[in-house]
Symmetry: C2
Subunit: 158 residues, 2 copies
Amino acid sequence: MQQDRPEESEAIVEPERFNQARAAQSMAILEDYVEMIGDLIGEFGEARITDIAQRMGVTHPTATKAVSRLKREGLAISRPYRGVFLTDEGAAMAELVRARHRTVVDLLVAIGVPAETAELDAEGMEHHVSDVTLKAFEAFLERATSVSDTIEEAPRKG
Amino acid sequence: MQQDRPEESEAIVEPERFNQARAAQSMAILEDYVEMIGDLIGEFGEARITDIAQRMGVTHPTATKAVSRLKREGLAISRPYRGVFLTDEGAAMAELVRARHRTVVDLLVAIGVPAETAELDAEGMEHHVSDVTLKAFEAFLERATSVSDTIEEAPRKG
DNA sequence: CCGCAAGTGAAGCCTTGGCAACACTTCTGT
DNA sequence: ACAGAAGTGTTGCCAAGGCTTCACTTGCGG
């Protein structure tokens, strides 16, 4: 019953994608928090633990712990009983994450996914979208947009 | 500096997508193991802990623990020092996961993502693709396929 | 048939990301 | 000015998913 085991090369390549997926996962929450803190600072001028916790749907100790990790990673700073702020690095990450999120949502919508579903699914998917894939998404959207312009604007003008 | 806080409705809806993403994440590893076990059974007639561990890129105790969880969830069965097998439920899940994986990879490729990158990114993304989105992917692929048929076959026939 | 290598299991540890409970600050209204 | 409410921090707990180490079965070769 036992056939030959896969070649060495296969055996080594296979697990890599799982390792990569796991690595992406460990960044995912950090990215979510950074983006959220960026949003809050944009809206209120500061990000408070309670607000972060509420928006992330977790309790405040969980948010505190996450912020600790962000500080350890050099993405955020904070002083006791004061708000949380992003470092330059953190702000840059927030911007990238936000842009990627938009692109993923736009792509899903362009593919034909309902906007609300796109928003929900993008939240989980976005963290696994590599730079290469992101570029492909952008290129596709550009093509799709010009096509829909042709279709939608022609009658309007006519 | 402090503006008004968001409306109640926003405050409640916001966290939902994170909760959903987290729930998907907790299923992700289960799905990966189930699919992998299905693959191994298909190839060798049985799935052994060592092989599962090797393919997943983890040590064997980790695989053992994962299998324990699968058994607890009713997706797999096993006896000490014997292989691991899927229940009907587990086999059904494996099939769904496999099909979804293929669809996601195909979609990425259709969008213009290099095959190898598509494979890597799909591994992480697939677990966050809802049924609605999957349906949209399938519909898009059907359209894209017929279009490329038109483009590719026309010159061939001419 | 018996011993040793490979495979498996079990225990214990780490980190992460949740939680609740409790302690302490800050802020606010009287 | 101060008491209570709201916000924040701390501590300790849990489960999951990693790991290493060690013990035990299995199964195969001599």
